[in-house]
């Protein structure tokens, strides 16, 4: 089994009503499987935010797997590493004027 610890940062925390979540998945589970599970566990509003199509997650959500952006990993069908740490947050509107 693979345990993935998910941290929710920023306003997304208000949507899922939790700071973190532990997801236990079968050996060999993929990133897509983890995202599906997150979507299933956190209600329709979050699922709508998440939207996984092909190899993309809604760019409004920023997801890091062990510190690496999912955009960089690209392949949602890659298997999760053991003890995966997943950070989920919203893209940050830029600072300046």
């Amino acid at each position: 089994m693979i345990e993935a610890r998910i941290h929710f940062f920023g306003p997304i925390r208000g949507l899922v009503k939790k700071k973190e979540q532990l997801v236990v998945l079968e050996e060999g589970a993929t990133v897509r499987r983890l995202l599906d599970e997150l979507g299933r566990a956190n209600g329709a509003e979050f699922r709508r935010y998440l939207v996984i199509e092909g190899a993309t997650v809604n760019p409004a959500l920023v997801v890091f797997l062990n510190g690496e952006s999912l955009d960089e990993i690209l392949n949602l069908d890659a298997p999760l590493p053991p003890g995966a740490s997943v950070d989920v947050m919203l893209a940050s509107p830029i600072l300046g004027g």
């Binding site: 208000g14 510190g67 960089e72 950070d87 893209a91 004027g97």
Partner: protein, 837 residues
Amino acid sequence: MRTMCRLCLNRCGILATVRGGMVVRIDGDPANPHNQGKACAKGRAGFYTLFSPYRVTGPLRRTNPEKGPGVDPGWEPISWNQALNLVAGKLKDIGEDDSRKLWRVTFDRSPLDYTWCAAFGTSPQPFSAGFFCGNAVHSMHFLNQFAVEAVPDVPLTQYILSVGGQYGAVVHYDTMNGAFELGRNREKIKLVAVDPFCGHAAGMADEWIPIRPGTDAAFLLSLVHVLINELGIYDAPFLQCFSNAPYLIGADGRYVRDPGTHKPLMWDAAEGVAKPFDAPVTDPALFGNHRVLGAEVRPAFQVIAERARQYTPEEVSRITSIPAATVRRIAREFGAAARVGATITIDGEQLPYRPASVTWYRGLSSHKYAFMNGFAAMLLQTIIGGLDVPGGLMGYRRAKYRATEDGLLAAMPHPGRVGSGPGPTNPYPARVVTPPQSIDLFELFPVACYSRAFAVKAILEPEKYHAHVRPQMLLQRRSNMAYTGAGREMMTELLCKIPFIVSFAFEIDETAEFADVVFPDLHYLEQLEPVGEGEYTTGSQPATFYGSKPVLKPPFDSPWDQLVSHDEILLELADRAGFLDDVYIACNALWRLPSDYALQPGKRYSYQELMDRALKATHGADKGLEWYVKDGLAVKERSVRERYPGAYPKPRIHVYHEYMIDAGRQVEAVTRELGIPWDSSGYVPLAEWRPCPAHTPKAPDFDLYMITAKAPYHALTATGTNPLLNEVGSRLGYNEIALHRDAGKRKGLKDGDWVEVETDSGKKARGRVKLTSAIHPEVTAVWSSAGRWARGATQNKEPPGIHFNSLLTLDDEHMDFVSAAVDSCLRVKISKLESSH
């Protein structure tokens, strides 16, 4: 002592000289290349604000529940402990309800701002900076330069077309470098300023071209037309290989895709056949009409060329008031200066050389169709192949990028930059539109870089906009939103709707007047903030790291006089409200602290210890806090590849914005589903010029446009606390209304006359007229940052002038539903008054 000026975005490296416990002099840091070792007059006068008699030196609590401009808050001094417990209690309540109901507003982000907000469950926002500033700027640079901003490559450029901006003259990220390089290269650079007002940048330009406000896109598209259709000047190899110019477009405006792979197709002119974009294509066609899959299709560049034909110089002259001959001449000059096809050798590498750039800012952003203005400017720069190559337009504050399935460049989020969030909010791929979840309805703006102006609408009319996240607490610092936001009346209404307001205030400014609790803020000469914005890398400058260091202690009671950052107060609040461990977890994740430096939940770290770990993680084990305090300047030359990424292969960039079609449809579907009145007509794949509301006056006697302009002697509102700069402003007519001499003559006005200004929305103001030839004859202008009204602040001794934002109207007609910009070109009439009363 080496430290950093925090008055404006340029953040110059400075040296502060202290004698007898007082700062007596500020100079530019000669070792700092970011500001070329110089400091401007504002920065050099910065220490005068230390003596403010209005300074807040301890926590205050409001006793008068009534709020509004001029209403005495009945301040009661309270202890730090009382203030911290009061605010922490409110934070705890909000955290247990819905963390998004904390509205954190700050323009000057400190090292811990983002992680603190991430840990609490909200995000920091600069608010009004996003009303009319980068709306036409950031998205465009993310899109084609994977950068937040861009500036001309001044040492190598030969032609700068400055449209609606004051490069090198007023607050910006690259003002000092721009100013000194422009001065040094005066003889070889032609600077053309296109602006309704001959402000300080236009005054120093080689040529000033007055333009009717809000018509910049027409002018820029006319240049595109002349370059492509009359002169045949465009960088064909670049467009073929590194842009989506050859992608085939169908009758519906969408890419024509391969039925099997779904990849966008190009037309190979050599073989007369359509091929997927990533197949070997000998000669990708930029022009022509072709038959593919039984339908007539055209390359995107053909569509652009055809669309541009609408913008003949003759037609555009009617729109902009710029003579057709001038439009053609500028196009010729720009095209010739771009030297399409030329190369230059730098450090032994042969690179494209495009020494021409268009630079734009607020003048393009503060309009109803701001996003299209940005499209037009970026298109002009892109067709000459002048992005991130020597002499061209240089992006900075870059993100990483990737190629999408359509082979197009997309900026990527990445953690690891201390003090900033994971960003960026890239327009492509567009975010999926969902029902509003944010205070500013950001979910309804899939391509904008922010949507802060819509927070005003959402807070004032929550039912109409389906805004169920309503702020219960505002935590605000260095963002004078009551003054810089939607005008005095509307901001009063908005701030009165927020049950609890906490301000970090240096003086009781217009926003702090609304606070329930005030914490005293630190002067920037009292701060230790090493990592606020990371490295500075504007233009082709070296990467330079430095930051704020305290040269004085704040005049607070002991032990609070030991504070070196307002982040220490945030940490204390987090501890008392029970989320300090979450702040540590957020720091570990967002700063990418390696295990040696990772923060352990349950332990307690001082602010200095946090900074030490962050510095070492970013700069190396020998560059912790001790190094920072002793030296704290790291300059790293960048390789040719780092400076000029546009010269190297990368994914294709956009000249045609197909993603806008889907984004618009999504916006339309969601807003219709929720019954939110919304205008999605601005989601189009190509730039076009559309008139602002001011181009159709509501009555003929509203015969003037009114705009605002930045002056070099003020940095937004940050310098309002400086009596010297206020005096300079007063002497130079900061409180006056600029009006063309001919208009003055027509109206029987002379210098110094009192007038009433009335907008065609019925808003009024009074002021004194200054007649000048340095303004478009149809335009009147007031200076930004004028018209302050706070009683408990330094500027209350100054003649106020007109508060421009109070004349604005934030209704559907005046807001861009794509970029969230607020239209700030007004239509007004001016009539003479007998006296100021």
